[in-house]
Amino acid sequence: MSTKAIDKNKLSELLNSLLFKQTLIAPVEAEEDILLFKNVESADQVVLDYQNTITPVKDWFFSQTEELFEFKNKITELEINDLPATDGEYILFGARPCDLKSVELLDLVFDEDGEFSDSFYKEKRDRTTIIGLSCSEPGAYCFCNSLDGLSPTATCNADIMLTEMDGDYLVEVLTDKGEKLVSDNSSYFSDKYSEEDKETRTEEIVSNMKLTVDVDDIEAIMQKEDVYLSDYWQELSLKCLGCAVCTYICPTCHCYDIRDYSRGNAGIRYRCWDSCMFNDFTEAAGDHNPRPTRRERVRQRFMHKLRFFDERYGDTGCVGCGRCLEKCPVNLDITRVISDVKELA
């Protein structure tokens, strides 16, 4: 919509002033080198020069554990009460392009505007203004540039996008929500940059990308029966430890389980993240398990990212953030899997 600029020192002033009215969620250093998105009390806590947080921004819109409703068993009837609705307005600051893209994909999954919209997700999504932050220095494991519509400066569905320039930030105002935030705080912004400046800067940043992978036709290749049945998955599963690091730090993984906390005759029903890497994930009554070994489970994860997601929503389920290959205890690498699978076909 429009392109503006904000000085680096003015940015923290802006964040501090926003904090008075809204809740700010931004990357903070929880422990040495451990960056997480958290509620922020002062702009000083916000880390700007990070490469990627450990957990993605999905944790804000789709919390690891989210309470759904309360219940009480009154012998003749079951009383169910909604929990107090989310109120207030939120600002999610500092989301990287890969995480922004993942929100775009999660919008599809949780059917943001559709008939079966997930009210818990939608509530937070509607109340949140997203300020994205381009990567100035892509990390060693980042490969977003290899994916369609993504780059270290891609705006995706951010309301406002910041790109670090020399001494200040280039600001792109992209939606009505973004427009409102900028016009309410217009004194912080100036007119300085144009769209061309962004393009030049993008080229500069992209030239620093280390990791690339060719994802052309990967969906079609994954659909082939001999790829599905290949021994490759067995071989790959040998090194998998079967933990859930990859799925829990993945910005697009969205499977959850529904459980109760109950004591006596009352309790709370909640949902929490679940992982297809766990052996009880697909376990059914009578001990039947359609994915009995790690072979099926590992295959499922890559099939979901690269094939099923595309079949269902028309987009790849991977955003190239590189978290899983970096944090996997055995470096099970999705970029390697993509190129290996291409050789199978």
Binding site: Y261, S262, R263, G267, I268
Partner: protein, 52 residues
């Protein structure tokens, strides 16, 4: 176990493990009284109480 719980930040006085035979009624009563008195001094446990 007691050492471990102490290490992660429980008050050690909260956990008692004691062998009391069926014929040691007085020992049982004394132990129960001792525990109750100590716990009353400590007040309610706040650790691991955020779950439902």
């Amino acid at each position: 176990m007691k050492r471990l719980l102490e290490y992660v930040g429980f008050e050690p006085e909260r956990l008692y493990v004691k062998w009391i035979s069926g014929s040691e009624g007085q020992k049982f009563a004394d132990t129960a009284t001792e525990i109750t008195e100590n716990i009353k001094k400590l007040g309610p446990n706040k650790k691991m109480r955020d779950a439902q």
